[in-house]
Symmetry: C2
């Protein structure tokens, strides 16, 4: 198993946070799990706590080597940006107790890597995730985005091994 | 000690996070500690980790009953809002492992409570914090803001005991 890297992809949101776990042996991804964390109830701090605790449980159960998270595109709306920033930070903080590498990619990079165009629709992302990972069913949109985030990193790792670039934002390895 | 409530005030920022700890016995605050967490080095996720780990250490060492944090005023700038949202969430997440009450107040509420006007300057806040807590020196601006946040909650608790209102955003007690 030492040449298998487990990647956790996260698509953060203040009400729905998608997650997806893939095992990479070399260039080849295998689906492990995916899903959506709902954090719709309670006050804002309670919702952050739900994201934090859920991502913490996922990391604790699946023990990924690498966490990959969507970076945030600039919202026109400062209030939305603030909420999304909180949610994204809660997901990141939940991984800090583990010694993981953390990477980020912009949504358009993820779509480009998985669909071949940075302007892909959510349905196109879902379709390609199902096709690449040979899934029996279609994951919910946020889970599919999280799987696409993990797939994007898998592709980038391969390229980076050749080109020596990346989006590493934290971690020791 | 059972009638003493320990309050941790936090003034979050992506580069400087102020903190201040006060003990309230009834209406009377006693200064415990204050300071500033610097998180200027490294990538953005590393800076979040510094805030998260520093606030975690403060909570672990001082064991407050209550955490009070500044709410975020609407930035004109979505990029600043996003960074501040991340920093604030990292500080909040660092308290989630403890069973604390969490409250928030807007900057103008804090200034109103401590200085008597919501338009107070940083210097006025520092001056009143020194005066109310009878400090020998003047805390740095972010530490003074954090102490003011804790003082604001102390005042509001007293009012709330009479009026039954508040800004509770999380916690069980």
């Amino acid at each position: 198993m030492s040449d298998t890297k487990r990647i956790l992809g996260i698509d953060p949101g203040s009400r729905l946070t998608g997650f997806g776990v893939l095992d990479y042996r070399g260039d080849s991804p295998t689906y492990v799990t995916s899903g959506t964390v709902k954090s719709a109830d309670g006050g804002f701090a309670d919702r952050l706590r739900q994201i934090y605790e859920a991502v913490n449980s996922i990391v604790d159960e699946y023990r990924p080597d690498i966490v990959v998270i969507e970076s945030v595109f600039m919202h026109r709306n400062a209030s939305s940006a603030l909420k999304l920033g909180h949610a994204r930070a809660a997901a990141l903080c939940a991984t800090f107790g583990y010694d993981l590498e953390v990477y980020e990619y912009a949504p358009r990079e993820i779509k480009q890597a998985v669909v071949g165009t940075g302007a892909a629709t959510k349905e196109q992302v879902q379709h390609m995730v199902v096709s690449i990972l040979q899934l029996d069913g279609t994951p919910a949109a946020d889970a599919a985005d999280a799987l696409a985030t993990a797939l994007c990193h898998g592709t980038q790792r391969r390229l980076r091994a050749r080109l020596g670039s990346g989006n590493r934002i934290a971690g020791t390895a």
